[in-house]
Amino acid sequence: MEAEEQVWILKTLQGDHEAFARLVTRYERQVYNLAYRMLGNAEDAEDAAQETFLRAYTALPSFQMGRKFSSWLLSIAANLCVDLLRRRRFAWLSLEDLSFRLAAPAEDPDRSVLRQEEAGRIQRLLDRLPEKYRLLVILRYWYDLSYEEIASTTGLSLGAVKTRLHRARCMLARAIEEEEVCTAEAPVG
């Protein structure tokens, strides 16, 4: 860990909010991107990013200085996003929501913009993955983490990381194959 970062952590532990602001500024992009890729929209990602930093602030006394701060922070964000997705999935099962969705599937404004872009296509692919696979794909491709680093961040074994990454890639490959078949079958004009 950088000495500068260590100083910020120590100062934050003494109640120095400015030092914590520096930590937030350094890692806001990483945390926000993880939240966005996991949750799929800007509003939820903003809430999750804020909540991640608040949890980190509260849990900072338990942070071990020998550990990589970014891994620790990303693990907080990852756990939070997985929890949010589980809650969201549960919420979707409520009858009210179900009838609403069947009647008129609402389109998130952020999503509708994204769908016009390549980023939207990638996000759609990610959204098809179960959260436990999605997280690993994000950590692998956006953060370029090794198997060992992913295992450390997620608390999974190395074998589980390899297996889940493999399954995720198979699912994504199938999705792309289907996409290509659908594109080929689409009527011209």
Binding site: Q14, Y32, A49, Q50, K162, C170, E177
Partner: protein, 184 residues
């Protein structure tokens, strides 16, 4: 090689984690199996799309929005006591001055413990406080030894009680101690 095993090797190949033997096995299988060739092409497409995926950027000012939600103060924790928070340092200096002042006044007045009656109760309290006080002072090493000696030589019954109260105030101050810096 089965297609399932080939699939696992494809994933490892994308991470450049194949041994030369595995590489040769996979290549041989791909030459023979059109379905796996198709899967491999799709996996490469996945790889390409994900590698070129952009980062999502937060709205400017996320740090400010986080700070606005932080609790007002942080409880100090043991590792955070070094260096001491400003409030803790101030409380420590105040305690030291208070102790010196009390010692000086007691020595100057030459007070002696009262005998009999309700003062016995006070004497017991004093003894208990002295015992506790001594225990704490041992933790303060050399400076603690000096104060302990002073405490024993002084005869004013309420002095140790006052010192205990002052120490408690110090600990509370440190527990809730905050840095002087505040977000504007």
């Amino acid at each position: 090689m089965h297609c399932r095993s080939a699939g696992r090797l494809m994933s490892l190949r994308l991470d450049a984690a194949l041994t030369p033997d595995q590489e040769a096995q996979l290549e041989g299988h791909l030459e023979r199996c059109p379905r796996c060739r198709s899967t491999w092409a799709a996996m490469q497409e996945v790889e390409s799309r994900l590698r070129s995926a952009p980062w999502a950027e937060p709205r400017p000012g996320l740090a400010g929005r986080v700070l606005a939600r932080l609790p007002e103060g942080r409880r100090s924790v043991v590792p955070a006591l070094l260096p001491w928070p400003r409030a803790g340092t101030a409380a420590l200096v105040a305690l030291a001055l208070l102790m010196l002042g009390l010692v000086a006044v007691a020595l100057w007045l030459g007070v002696t413990p009262a005998q009999g009656g309700w003062m016995r109760v006070a004497q017991e309290v004093q003894n208990t406080a002295l015992a506790l006080w001594n225990g704490l002072l041992y933790l303060l090493a050399a400076s603690g030894m000096l104060l302990r000696t002073l405490g024993r030589t002084l005869a004013w019954p309420w002095l140790p009680v006052l010192l205990l109260l002052a120490l408690s105030a110090l600990l509370v101050g440190l527990w809730f101690g905050r840095s002087g810096k505040r977000r504007p």
